[in-house]
């Protein structure tokens, strides 16, 4: 597998299982800042950040995509976690002036455009320079035949840190933009439209945690490789004390890694009769025979390895660990 080549292509994905929540009211940012890991108080208008909901024990509830549109905050999360996220926020909301609703009008769907060429691709399709620095967003207007002008929200999100833009709009407008993209690949020869399985493969080989397989209450964000979405200077938020202690005293037990094995392996990884980790996600069988997987592996087993290494599990299968 050539990851560099894989990531240089343009990959487009419209998740069917994604939800947007609108948060309005003067206390919105203050409340979300107290409940999540990142510094949201310095999030300016039209800026985006990822921030995690974690339990008081520092375990992950969900990663939220948070966009400040000045008059409202747009939260994004997986459809599977929606009720949990809404209940979590509701539980911790007391007298704050906030109004929280599922967005069923303006932002119902999104197109993810990933890969190193994502911005040249978007620019060539729309004919506008949409280069944005990380975490910035902009509105663009587009002419939709027989309808008029539609407004799209473009965000540089960078969860995939080699280029990752997203377009937010209503369901109908996203369908229209998707048709437009498919009709015109610009000068780009390699544009792949991913289905759910293909996106999952792509996420796995890029070692990115997903909900609920890696992002769940069994693990903390430091184990999941999501440290960049934690602000260690912002002061108190739910779970802060535990997370700060894990980081300061190097007490993080597991590390999320990409592994490869060309034979079927059990989800529990055992080496020399010791439990060393668990596989959490599998690529589909039509993608490099399903050889690539994501696993949480004990840091005591990985030690300070700075390069990839192999080990043999108890069933005799050779497993490669990518560092």
């Amino acid at each position: 597998m050539n990851l560099a080549e894989l990531n240089s292509n343009v990959r487009i994905y419209t998740p069917s299982n994604y939800k947007f929540i609108s948060v309005k009211g003067k206390d919105s940012i203050d409340l979300l800042d107290r409940l999540t890991t990142n510094d949201l108080k310095s999030l300016k208008s039209m800026e985006h950040a990822y921030s995690l909901l974690v339990s008081p024990k520092g375990r992950m509830i969900e990663i939220l995509s948070i966009l400040n549109l000045e008059d409202q905050i747009i939260l994004g999360c997986s459809a599977e976690s929606l009720n949990k996220v809404l209940e979590w926020i509701d539980f911790y909301t007391f007298g704050e002036e906030v109004e929280i609703n599922l967005d069923e009008k303006d932002y119902q769907s999104k197109i993810m455009i990933m890969g190193e060429n994502s911005i040249p691709f978007i620019n060539s399709i729309f004919g506008i320079d949409m280069s944005l620095s990380e975490g910035k967003s902009m509105f663009i207007a587009l002419n939709k035949p027989l309808y008029g002008r539609i407004k799209l929200l473009v965000v540089n999100k960078n969860y995939f840190d080699f280029g990752h833009y997203e377009i937010y709009a209503s369901k109908e407008d996203i369908d229209y933009v998707l048709k437009l993209l498919k009709k015109n690949n610009g000068n780009f020869e390699f544009v792949n439209y991913l289905n759910d399985d293909e996106f999952n493969n792509y996420r796995i080989v890029n070692n990115l945690a997903g909900y609920p397989t890696e992002i769940n209450e069994n693990y903390n964000p430091l184990e999941a490789g999501l440290k960049k979405y934690i602000n260690f200077n912002k002061g108190c938020y739910i779970g802060q004390e535990v997370i700060a202690r894990l980081d300061t005293y190097s007490k993080v037990k597991n590390r999320l890694v990409l592994i490869k094995s060309d034979t079927e392996v059990n989800s529990e990884l055992i080496n020399e009769n010791k439990h060393i980790g668990n596989i959490t996600s599998y690529t589909s069988s039509d993608f490099y025979n399903g050889d690539y997987k994501l696993a949480y592996i004990r840091k005591s087993f990985i030690k300070d390895s700075e390069s990839d290494f192999n080990f043999i599990n108890n069933a005799g299968s050779e497993i490669k660990v990518y560092i």
Partner: protein, 122 residues
Amino acid sequence: MMNKPSAQRDNSGSLTIKITSDAVNHIRSFGELEGKNKTNLRVAVKGGGCSGLTYVLELAENPTNNEKVISENGMELYVDKKSYIFLAGTTLEYQGGLNGKGFVFHNPNAKTTCGCGTSFSV
């Protein structure tokens, strides 16, 4: 005509919130420093803090519509209904002196508290 606040007065004495006379004296002195003639106390909880829920103390003169009113040691405590769920049975005391922590909540609902004692989980 002004609407009278419809706050509920609790005279039952069961599962109430208590405040020690020392804490009342300190709150009164804070009120005087702010030039207030009548000082009562709003006690609440908000989401956040390391353990999930943080205590809120605020000088107040009157309750709002949704607050429960508890009279204790000559002071009125105003508590909104949702906060009351997490505070019922709590005693608020004041620990002075060089090693004192100031206002301290003894909350029987708190399963864990954070290191600095300002937040708790249930």
